[in-house]
Subunit: 211 residues, 2 copies
């Protein structure tokens, strides 16, 4: 199941998007990288390149939301969860020779003005990430409007640090984010009058249940 043709096409396309973006990736590259013939690509994605990209955005978006929620579930408290996220991202980026960790941000920026279906697919993914982070922060005691702002900032920081770290070929921007995000969340917890900064057991169970 893990390497049926459709999955191979999706995986190969995601990796090519991470290196070259949407317009920089051709279907012939996907065909050789998968590997799969052009005919197979159109068999599984009759909508062509645009439909393939939409499927890549959807599946990558789910994987990364689950990754974030797994980190939250495994962390001792909310503050260290966010710190762990950025430190983990810094590690992944270095080990992958600075291939972009997220194909969605690149593709979104490329096509937001030229492909409404892809823009909406990327929008739905970012929204699901913001909602997931908001839930975690609200569950820790931060009041909803402030939590939503912080969740928005969290996703923006992530995407922005990917741009900087990838361009610089250095994990430093992500490390700087890791250093700053802890105090930022911690002070929000104090203002919110949270009784404790630890992730509630109920919240952790809910998060685990999603996987």
């Amino acid at each position: 199941m893990a390497d049926d043709t459709r999955t191979r096409i999706l995986t190969a396309t995601g990796e090519l998007f991470r290196r070259q973006g949407y317009n920089g990736t051709s279907l012939s590259q996907v065909s050789t990288a998968a590997p799969a013939t052009i005919g197979s690509i159109y068999h599984f994605f009759p909508g062509g390149k645009e439909a393939l990209a939409a499927a890549v955005i959807d599946s990558t978006g789910s994987v990364y939301r689950e990754l974030f929620e797994a980190i939250v579930a495994e962390s001792d408290d909310v503050v260290s969860a966010f710190v762990n996220f950025f430190e983990g991202a810094a590690l992944v980026l270095t080990e992958s020779d600075y291939i972009d960790p997220c194909p969605i941000g690149t593709v979104a920026r490329e096509v937001a003005s030229t492909s409404e279906p892809l823009r909406q697919a990327a929008d739905a993914v970012f929204d699901s990430w913001v909602r997931s982070a908001t839930e975690v922060l609200v569950g820790a005691g931060i009041d909803p409007p402030h939590a939503a702002d912080l969740a928005n900032l969290f996703v923006a920081m992530t995407e922005g640090c990917f741009v900087l770290s990838r361009t610089k070929r250095s994990p430093e921007p992500l490390r700087a984010a890791a250093r700053l995000v802890g105090p930022l969340i911690a002070s929000a917890l104090e203002e919110g009058g949270a009784r404790t900064s630890r992730t509630s057991e109920r919240g952790a169970r809910r998060v685990r249940g999603i996987r």
Copy 2:
């Protein structure tokens, strides 16, 4: 001078990059948008599309660094300078129908793995932005290592919010950043033991002098 052929080509290319990125923009589109013939493009940029993109990155990078420094010079204090920056960006984005405000972030992500000259050009621009913001923050009394982290975060927030706001077709992500950046800088000023949060006169003059 403002509309000589070379400048027209640079401006048109920058706008096309903002809508479609690097790989999504063809030289024939540049030719009709400038307007200028293909021959003229290769006359001014013998290195072809890649050299043209490098020139766009350089000039756009300077313009935006000067814009940031102008906002700093015109703001009453450092905190409101950063708030004003994000609120201004939110306004610009809405008025431009969510065309990406920054062609550099898009192009950098597209080509960081495939064009070393363009990756380096984008890297130099981001570095100049981080250095400029660091100077401002240090000038306000924040100790240099913390100021460098905050400057890094500032540029990452900007790029990340551009991705989100453009994809969502809403100024909200930039507005959320505007709401959070004030307290963030303010608390750094307190920790740094700054005597005042106002931009020092010396700092403001230095910033003006750069233009």
